[in-house]
Amino acid sequence: MKVLVPVKRVVDYNVKVRVKSDQSGVDIANVKMSMNPFDEIAVEEATRLKEKGAATEVIAVSCGVAQCQETLRTAMAIGADRGILVQTDVELQPLAVAKLLKVLVEKEQPQLVILGKQAIDDDANQTGQMLAALLGWSQATFASKVELGDGVVRVTREVDGGLETLELKLPTIVTTDLRLNEPRYVTLPNIMKAKKKQLDIVTPDELGVDVVPRLKILKVAEPQARSAGVKVPDVAALVDKLKNEAKVV
């Protein structure tokens, strides 16, 4: 069984991004880029399935600029067998990515696609669900546990107020939540090995997908800043402020 794992190159989670002065976007020049943390969890999960013998091949896919090759190399250092880059300089929105992935899924015929529940740059939380819909597949989003059975997969999902468990017929889509696993540290020998793994590059045109953005970004601004308030000396002063100044208790 093949497993396909889409991975996104995003601004590293430790970087505090700055809005450009012309409000056209955030400044990502010379900023550290990394694999979206949720996608790292997805690669780890797929790799574990392969190590358990449940998966035969793990294919990592990234859509975006040429530098996404680095993200794919990271995925291959964790354990993906090969990588596919859909290369374009166009700003890709989730619907376009889902359409690109659909074509690759039809070509590669995986039984399982595992991807992050959201990317930490646009915080959209859409691509997995959209891909499932376009393929006419089932989905289990926000997974905290994945158990493969015979032709089915049982997934525990994080929902408001607790957990729920679904059983899905394969092929299916799983999106990862934070506690599905803890991704391994990538070792130097594995980074070296990953450099030799196969990495194919295609373009949206070759896949026959229109990736023109549907949402126009008119402006990107700083959020309203919240100013620091006051430090109170003790609990009594705090309670006094809450009762008599803020009037919230």
Partner: protein, 308 residues
């Protein structure tokens, strides 16, 4: 224009988030219909009919819709979609699960987690953990949207719209609901609570986390946690407040032993009043707190309980 709002419910109760979504729909303007897709959910539909601004409630009932399976609920929405200019979901676990399926099938972009309506096609949404706010305009004929509930004050009740039964969509049959583990709690729901008491890594252990219970009891608060506290196993996963957890904006947010990583601030900085208790005077949480108390939480919290 007419707007379809997908109700958030558990077949027994209408969730408060629905009121916030109706409020967003009212700002867009137009005829507002609410879809209640469930099983034995007539009482939920009656409740939804009371929300001011709603002109009609559509009730689709079938065992296939009982557990909110994304495949089945999406089919139900798609069956009703023609004729609507906007389809709105709450940006909750269930709304986020279903909405992109609907958008993809309609071949339109989804606008995720809007926090302000500027016009019928232009909205504001936070990106990069709330470090930037994007103004986005949809060029699609239908706008499929998830609404960040903290961006809109709940629409009041007092109306009485008609409830109309609609034909339920057939089960897709690709997935089966197995079970649910929902923590029983007398506390308010985290996402809609007026007061939230959250603990961080400074709590030190799951056992210590319990010292927040009496404080939450006293304030009628929901309990929350930082990612660090959840990662350490001090608190359940669904208590996580932040960029990838719950976004909350209560009247009062009390952060105990939370340092204030940007990802956590993304989930609570729109709270009306923020209180922080931390022994580290340099903790970033003090940069957003209205009232900061530099103190050992293990003495400050019990003292707070007795003083309040």
């Amino acid at each position: 224009m007419s707007i379809l709002v997908i109700a958030e419910h558990d077949n027994v109760q209408l969730k408060a988030a629905t009121h916030n979504v109706v409020a967003a729909a009212s700002e867009i303007g137009g005829d507002i219909h609410v879809l209640v897709a469930g099983a034995n959910a007539a009482a939920v539909a009656q409740h939804a009919a009371k929300i001011v601004g709603v002109s009609k409630v559509l009730l689709a009932e079938s065992p296939a819709l009982a557990d909110g399976l994304a495949e089945n609920v999406a089919e139900q929405v798609l069956a009703l979609a023609p004729g609507y200019s906007h389809i709105l979901f709450a940006a909750t676990a269930s709304g986020k699960n279903v909405s992109p399926r609907v958008a993809a099938r309609l071949d339109v972009a989804q606008i995720s987690e809007i926090q302000a309506v500027l016009s019928a096609d232009t909205f504001e949404r936070a990106i990069y953990a709330g470090n930037a706010v994007a103004t986005v305009q949809s060029t699609d004929p239908v706008k499929v949207i998830t609404v960040r509930t903290t961006g809109f004050d709940a629409a009041p009740e007092g109306a009485s719209a008609a409830v109309e039964s609609v034909t339920p969509a057939a089960a897709v049959g690709l997935s089966t609901f197995i079970g649910r583990e929902v923590a029983k709690s007398d506390r308010p729901e985290l996402a809609g609570a007026k007061v939230v008491v959250s603990g961080g890594r400074g709590m030190g252990s799951a056992e210590n986390f319990k010292i927040l219970d009496p404080l939450a009891d006293k304030l009628g608060a929901a309990l929350g946690a930082s990612r660090a506290a959840v990662d350490a196993g001090y608190a359940p996963n669904d208590w996580q407040v932040g960029q990838t957890g719950k976004i909350v904006a209560p009247q009062l947010y009390v952060a105990i032993g939370i340092s204030g990583a940007i990802q956590h601030l993304a989930g609570m900085k729109d709270s009306k009043v923020i209180v922080a208790v931390n022994k580290d005077a340099e903790a970033p949480i003090f940069g957003v707190a209205d009232y900061g108390l530099v103190a050992d939480l293990f003495t400050a919290v019990p003292e707070l309980v007795t003083t309040l």
